[in-house]
Symmetry: C2
Subunit: 392 residues, 2 copies
Amino acid sequence: MSVTAPRGFVAAGGAVGIKPAGAPDLAVVATADGRAVPTAAVFTTNLAAAAPVQVSRDHLAKSAGRAAATVLTSGNANAATGPGGIGVARRLCELVAAGVGAAPHEVLVCQTGLIGVPFPSEVLGAVGPVVAARAAGEEASRAAADAILTTDTVRKVAVAQVAAGGGRCTVGGMAKGAAMLAPRMATMLAVLTTDAEVAPGTLRVILREGVDASFNRVTVDGCTSTNDTVVLMASASAGAVPLGALGDAVAEVCRSLADQMVADAEGATKVARVVVTGAASDAEAHAAARKVAGSLLVKCSLNGADPYWGRVVSELGSAGVAFDLGRTSVSYGGTVVCAQGAPAPHDERAVAAHMAGRTVEIACDLGMGPGKGAVLTTDLGHGYIDENRATS
Amino acid sequence: MSVTAPRGFVAAGGAVGIKPAGAPDLAVVATADGRAVPTAAVFTTNLAAAAPVQVSRDHLAKSAGRAAATVLTSGNANAATGPGGIGVARRLCELVAAGVGAAPHEVLVCQTGLIGVPFPSEVLGAVGPVVAARAAGEEASRAAADAILTTDTVRKVAVAQVAAGGGRCTVGGMAKGAAMLAPRMATMLAVLTTDAEVAPGTLRVILREGVDASFNRVTVDGCTSTNDTVVLMASASAGAVPLGALGDAVAEVCRSLADQMVADAEGATKVARVVVTGAASDAEAHAAARKVAGSLLVKCSLNGADPYWGRVVSELGSAGVAFDLGRTSVSYGGTVVCAQGAPAPHDERAVAAHMAGRTVEIACDLGMGPGKGAVLTTDLGHGYIDENRATS
């Protein structure tokens, strides 16, 4: 179960012909009764935002933060496709709106795939039957989660629960591989649902905080796609819940989906967690962790299981944060390899064993203050290049 | 000829035992008479600056912008090596100062190699004989240029001349592969000489402008090394020259050395020039070109000779500059593939032929203003990873 785990939601997934060979490529998540409910979304900051991002932003503004459905397609990003692309994204919303009994501006749209390829609008005729097949329950939510995948190798879903009064409220979510993980398809998409009762403005804050603590703490290639979108819809079926607990549950689902994306990173053989402590502030810790995590040289070292901490120190020194080499230490899997900015005698076999594993922890202490932060990344190997050197 | 092309300079290169197997690893560039002459230097902005960078900065401040010699070693970066590393860098300057008859603070030092490995100080005893062998002429300058190479496959030297009164003034230079090109060795180093008569302050401005127009317009992996240094020494042997012409000659030598670095990029199969026009300002054009040139996805596409312009547009949209997709066009080798932010019908065979070549030109017009800029980059292939995944 994922997006239909919270009460009040139905979903569907199927094939309309965007992808070849009848692979599933259209998903819908809608309220069970077609009513527009409080909905928040976080969109890419890329100024070359794809048509679906432009249309969804417009719809969310018109509906004052409410939506009855989100429609998602995979196989074509509908980005940099000119005015025709906007028409396609609007038409998708109209078709889904007609199917669920809502107004077109009460539908959000997400698309993922190649940029700059005109969308095959002849597939729009096949949208109606998929929407009509929407249902609650395991099978429908699985079909929806499958239909948004591109080069992902596994379905990405998560559920969390919160005690609410006598009963409980649920948060569910589904996602497809991040831009940085399946960059050939250029996008990360996620849809979350909850049956909590929350006002649109509050929902926006909760989603923003959840995304900041999860999807924004992951980097694989530093590319900000044209289509990235995370949507959170709240049906109110479970009534009011403590907002702190709801925020935690949303963040937990986001974090689980982000972790699943990194774990399924194409071409990656390792997942590394870069933890920075002792920074002047949490923001500086995060910036430093992101610089190390995004370094091609650090990622190459990870690929070769090489504990070359000199590259880590070099990235910390050029991260644009308060830094003093003489106060800096670095450890791999808990073994200190650099202390006070110089080589530290250490158990080389312990470090080699840690580097050989699938999960690596690089901990850096800057000795400057109380700031701490962490970013997840992957290694950089032949697989990433093979996946991305050609689009066909 | 390179650093000894201008009158008043001698050079030497030899092996002292930092590298294995007797490979040349020590170079010296000095004034012929041991006199300290106006000297400018540009150092890495990395806060984890290596010991030689710290010592050179200190010496240049103490000598009010004058130096009698620059000593360079390859095979060990002497970075993140603690207080002992500072001692080594100082000792190198003392040994060279004794050899050329100058004060220790009149010698600059540059080192390149692995970070975080203690420098083998037992090699210092072999420095004297190399310094004693310094000479003018082709052979000496070639030996110096060879001794600073690491994973470079070719020597990098350049010379430019300027008419000065009745005679002429010369600018010569040598360099080793950029950090981003031979990142295993973690550094780009360059030494330039001229026989022009210039005050230290003016020399600083000329060098800064030359570096900005050359080494700062190259990116391969975005890593700022701990050791990057460019030095310019002016002997005054040719007398005063028009400063504009001297600046042009310095920029020309810098640009030639930068081009040679990119052309010799390890693991790279292509060199790409990303040109951005129509930006709001030159600074924004340069930022946009750098974002495209640094993109892993764009570099993967280059490796596969794939004209996937969607990635170029996506990088332009996330470059942090004024951008309007509807005004954006992209061309490969002069053929427009994207116009007004949407696919443009074009001769696909012409584009394929251009992408298959060793040199690719990606031109982007943002349609926002008069700003223009260009950055050189390389593709990202298996070779880069193979070179960098392990240090041994």
